[in-house]
């Protein structure tokens, strides 16, 4: 599904990631952890094709990312749900339209979008906030909305970068339950976080693999916390 082989990524003179080899199998649950600045977000961006490796080979859905055009990457993103660290919404559109954006972008009909959207808004508990603009939402609501937008296309992979970074413990547990539910539905889930409590809580419910990034490399793969 997502396969990295001796991947390195450099920006300017500095190497941010080095010799990363990783295989994300369908239906698996992965945590990416490590100190701030370790390269978690960079690795996530590589995984959804926002960055290209400067060395090594990166394959997304069995295709070499270097051989893809921007439109090819855009098409692949429709099979991936991304929860960005700062959520990223279109602030001038109401929440419901933001969540439905992937459907519109991929040319799905409004009727189909309406049906999926209603279910999803209910699932993340945002039905009452459908008409609110993103700047009017709380941190937790934004995170749940970002998760809803990430899964509305029923993607094969969900990549969440610090999804609980700006929310309280109760909300982070709620988001965690949503991610676990997605994994039980057969989705591959990758969560970048430095919240060890979140990782422990997850491992109580699902088999999760923990990947620790330090010194530009994955140092612990498959280790239990």
């Amino acid at each position: 599904m997502i396969e990295l082989e001796n991947v390195a990524y450099s920006y300017g003179d500095g190497e941010l990631l080095s010799d990363i080899s990783l295989k994300l199998a369908p239906g698996s649950f992965h945590f990416l952890t490590g100190p701030s600045g370790a390269g978690k977000t960079t690795l996530m961006k590589l995984c959804y094709g926002a960055l290209l490796p400067t060395a090594g080979q990166l394959r997304l859905f069995d295709r070499d990312v270097r051989a893809m055009t921007r439109d090819d990457v855009a098409m692949l993103r429709r099979r991936m749900g991304v929860v960005h660290q700062d959520c990223q919404f279109l602030d001038h559109l109401p929440l419901s339209e933001n969540i439905a954006l992937p459907l519109h972008v991929s040319g799905r009909s409004s009727e189909a979008a309406g049906e999926d959207l209603g279910d999803l808004m209910h699932w993340v508990g945002l039905t009452e906030r459908a008409d609110a603009l993103p700047p009017e939402l709380s941190g937790g609501e934004r995170q749940r909305a970002a998760l809803a937008r990430a899964v509305i296309m029923s993607p094969d992979v969900v990549l969440a970068d610090e999804p609980t970074g700006n929310v309280d413990w109760e909300m982070s547990q709620r988001l965690l339950r949503l991610l676990i539910e997605l994994n039980r539905m057969g989705k591959t889930v990758v969560v970048a976080t430095h919240d060890l409590g979140l990782i422990r809580a997850t491992k109580a419910h699902v088999q999760a693999r923990v990947l620790r990034i330090a010194n530009r490399r994955i140092q612990l793969a498959g280790a239990d916390l």
Partner: protein, 302 residues
């Protein structure tokens, strides 16, 4: 051409949701509307100038090409005889539809602007003028000159080409300048729309980033901007065209021959329909300018 129309039709297909993903930006919207409107207004005048100059070139060319003047400069006692001889030659000359000697009153009227209305022709050695109107096939000027030289020594044929040609050339040049102006107006419109589109694209980098995150192709993102700028250019140009045509319509008409160029500046007959092409052309210019700007920007943001 078919491919270009297909491209434009596809990009301009209404998509309410896609139109909403890009927030409306006051500055770029106003700039595009104003630029398109002002350029369309100027284009109407350039078009009016070009078409009027074209009409004038044709009119001068046609009218002057079909007339000639023979000047008889002979001693007083021979002038009438030479005038009669010239008229006889003209009667048998192929290509002459009509020839007549101007009367004293007509010659006085011609000289009045320089010598005053009370001019007595008898007291001045004024040559006699013969007006020649040619048929459509025209007169062989060289042959006629030879015959006149042999039989009417005081006759000089003026076929008007000496001053007709520069006039026709000037009118033709004016027509060309009108078209060049229209091309420049189109280029300036493209530049202004490109500027506005670049500003809008730069201001919406975050929107583009979100759209890419959710799987939007470059084509989808570009279309959202293209549709907006093309429609703005169309609306602005339509308003500018209407105002321009009203201004042309309100221009004074009539006047004497010397003012006919200025008072004739406008459209005639079917030419009134030509400015209707300006809004769709402005929209086409905006379409391609925005498309190029969007592609360049999206390439740069990758």
């Amino acid at each position: 051409m078919k491919r270009v129309f297909g491209l434009m039709r596809r990009a301009m297909q209404p998509d309410a949701q896609a139109d909403r993903v890009v927030p409306s930006s006051g500055f770029t919207a106003q700039l595009t509307l104003f630029a398109a409107g002002a350029m369309a207004f100027l284009a109407v005048f350039a078009l009016a100038l070009s078409l009027a100059a074209g009409r004038l070139a044709e009119q001068w060319g046609d009218e002057l090409a079909r007339t000639a003047t023979i000047r008889i400069a002979a001693p007083d006692d021979q002038q009438q005889a030479q005038t009669d001889a010239a008229l006889r030659i003209l009667q048998t000359t192929r290509g002459v539809a009509q020839a007549r000697a101007l009367s004293d009153a007509e010659q006085s009227a011609l000289l009045a602007p320089w010598f005053g209305a009370d001019l007595e022709l008898d007291r001045l050695p004024v040559p006699r003028l013969i007006e020649v109107i040619e048929t459509a096939e025209g007169v062989d000027a060289a042959g006629l000159r030879l015959r006149l030289a042999a039989e009417v020594p005081g006759a000089v044929l003026d076929d008007h080409s000496r001053w007709r040609d520069p006039l026709v050339k000037a009118a033709s040049r004016l027509r060309t300048l009108g078209w060049v102006s229209i091309i420049l107006i189109a280029a300036v419109t493209a530049a202004m729309v490109t500027l506005a589109a670049n500003a809008a694209l730069a201001a919406n980098a975050q929107v583009i980033s979100v759209l890419r995150l959710v799987g939007a192709t470059d084509d989808y993102i570009a279309r959202a901007f293209i549709r907006r700028f093309t429609l703005r250019a169309l609306i602005g140009a339509a308003a500018g065209m209407v105002l321009g045509m009203i201004a042309v319509l309100l221009m004074p008409r009539g006047g004497d021959e010397t003012a006919s160029f200025l008072t004739g500046l406008g459209f005639q007959g079917i030419h009134w329909l030509v400015p209707l092409l300006i809004p769709p052309l402005a929209a086409a210019v905006a379409f391609f300018a925005t498309r190029a700007a969007a592609r360049r920007t999206l390439e740069g943001l990758s």
